[in-house]
């Protein structure tokens, strides 16, 4: 039992060491040549444009259901006209970043782990090294840069369409005037909320993609290993999204409010 626990702790420490090592190499890869510009552009397209549909759909429906639920609750206080405040504050501060993060974790985190995992088990990563390419510079750096910069962009889009979704339900179902909704949306938002909604996705994007890359590059054991790596990447990056969201929110509250 004790020996098992020691083994588990050793394995966990090894994972952390490998993860930190990969991040250190990534930082070096960002600031020193060679750079693989084409791969960076490809990853911006794959992670950013590729995730647009799922983020648009999630954002819109979240805004719609939020308006619907808020309308019922606010009706109890005769405050249906305040629905915009609730929708905007919830979406910009929390639901936009977190739901976008979870969607990207499901779509991109799993994809990265599966792709790099397959390359590991078929010796393509070893072939890259044999051909004189550092796999971190070629595969990890472009993905982390794309995650770091595209998740905030996706979050802004998600939050925007979320508020439009809320507007559709507020005007169409709750029968509140359009100008009342938008006034309420603006009143509900403070500049700190906007900053929070913009800063958090950088951390979430970084966590999702770096976990996907780490899990992918640690894949062993053939196709079964690739399946395990994909599942692990989704689970770990989804949990990381929620945990990082909490800690960054706590930090930003201390710093900004």
């Amino acid at each position: 039992m004790a020996a098992g626990a020691v083994e588990w702790i050793k394995a966990a420490l090894l994972e952390v060491q490998e993860y930190v090592g990969m991040l250190a190499k990534t930082v070096r890869g960002v600031v020193t040549p060679p750079f693989y510009y084409r791969d960076v552009v490809q990853q911006f397209d794959a992670i950013g444009i590729g995730s647009l549909t799922v983020v648009l759909l999630t954002g819109t429906f979240t805004g719609m259901v939020l308006a619907l639920q808020s309308g019922i609750t606010l009706d109890q206080f005769g405050a249906r006209s305040m629905v915009g405040r609730l929708v905007s504050a919830s979406i910009v501060k929390e639901l936009g970043p977190v739901l976008t993060g979870l969607m990207v974790a499901g779509r991109v985190g799993s994809g990265i782990a599966a792709e790099l995992g397959s390359m590991m088990v078929t010796d393509q990563i070893a072939a890259l090294r044999a051909l004189g390419t550092d796999p971190v510079r070629k595969l990890v750096v472009p993905r982390i840069l794309a995650g770091l910069l595209m998740v905030p962009v996706l979050t802004v889009i998600s939050s925007a369409v979320g508020m439009v979704g809320g507007w559709i339900v507020t005007v169409g179902v709750l029968r509140v005037a359009s100008s009342v909704y938008w006034n309420s949306v603006i009143q509900g938002l403070y500049i700190q909320d906007v900053w929070m909604g913009l800063i958090k996705p950088f951390f979430l994007g970084f966590a999702i993609v770096s976990i996907g890359c780490h899990v992918g590059l640690r894949t062993r054991g053939g196709t079964q290993g690739v399946g395990r790596a994909t599942t692990n990447a989704v689970v770990a990056s989804s949990v990381a999204v929620i945990a990082v969201d909490y800690f960054v929110t706590q930090l930003l509250i201390v710093l900004m409010y």
């Binding site: 040549p33 060679p34 397959s118 393509q124 070893a126 044999a130 051909l131 004189g132 070629k138």
Partner: protein
């Protein structure tokens, strides 16, 4: 870190590593994974322009030797010299320069799925050596012509047969004109006819391009074919014939058993050893 270029050598070292010089040296190399010893005091020398053929049962440590040469693994003990550079304690960055002069054909090819045959073969030229596109494309067409797959240049690896994938892997390994080529089970899983075409590519590269090679295999027929045949250019064609005894001496067999070298010598000596050693006899039969 600049892009990897072949390691610079002085004229003296270039002379020493010329034909017949020691281009790869293993000196008492030992490697273990946890409790399991993979290699135990392995020593050998590959001379420039020669071939070493590693035989042995699965798990005997044959492929590990190739990974040690490439610096993909580091030994626990002993020294490894490649192209005049000591690589057993070399950093990953410094190793990139040594790898610039090495080509490796992985088991199953390890071609990049998302790239075409052209991009796979020219990968090092386009991405690492920054050749002009026209020059790189010319070289890719030349090596694909050399291995007889010119018409497959725009296909994806998934559209090729097993044998074609191995030959494209050979083309990729030779595209940047390395002085050393390493082959990991190049014919495993291929039918006899296709295996012979792969063997002939190995012979052509050795005899016509002067490449030093290490072949890891457990396909005895292919091992003896590579060791006992030679390639020669006849007008526009390349022909293959039985090698002279002197030429046969340039291809040496090493048999690994439980991480140790159980036999080292040419094809004739290997056959003779089978009469004395029941393990070698069982392996050859």
């Amino acid at each position: 870190m600049a892009r990897a270029q072949p390691a610079r050598r002085s004229e003296l070292l270039d002379d020493a590593l010329g034909p017949g010089g020691p281009i790869i040296v293993f000196d008492d190399v030992t490697l273990a994974f946890d409790e399991k010893v993979i290699l135990r005091d392995v020593s050998f020398t590959l001379k420039t322009g020669h071939t070493k053929i590693f035989l042995g049962a699965s798990g005997a440590g044959k492929s590990t030797i190739l990974r040690l040469i490439l610096g993909l693994l580091k030994p626990d003990g002993g020294q490894i010299f490649v192209n005049g550079e000591r690589v057993d304690n070399m950093s990953e960055d410094a190793m990139m320069a040594v790898r610039a002069d090495l080509g490796m054909v992985f088991q199953e090819g390890a071609l990049f799925d998302s790239l075409s045959v052209r991009e796979n073969v020219g990968y090092k030229l386009f991405e690492e050596l920054n050749w002009k596109p026209a020059d790189a494309n010319r070289r890719v067409e030349e090596v694909l012509g050399f291995i007889g797959l010119a018409e497959f240049i725009d296909r994806k690896p998934s559209e090729l047969s097993g044998g074609q994938r191995r030959r494209v892997a050979i083309a990729r390994a030779m595209a940047a004109k390395p002085r050393i080529l390493l082959y990991d089970e190049p014919t495993t899983g291929l039918d006899p006819i296709t295996s012979i075409t792969v063997d002939e590519e190995i012979i052509k590269l050795r005899d016509l391009e002067g490449v030093s090679s290490i072949v890891v295999t457990h396909q005895l027929r292919d091992a003896f074919y590579v060791a006992e045949h030679t390639a020669a250019r006849r007008s526009s064609e390349v022909g293959f014939e039985k090698a002279s005894p002197a030429k046969c001496d340039e291809a040496e067999f090493i048999m690994l058993r439980d991480g140790r070298i159980a036999f080292e010598g040419n094809a004739g000596e290997l056959r003779a050893a089978a009469a004395r050693d029941p393990y070698i006899d069982a392996f050859l039969s």
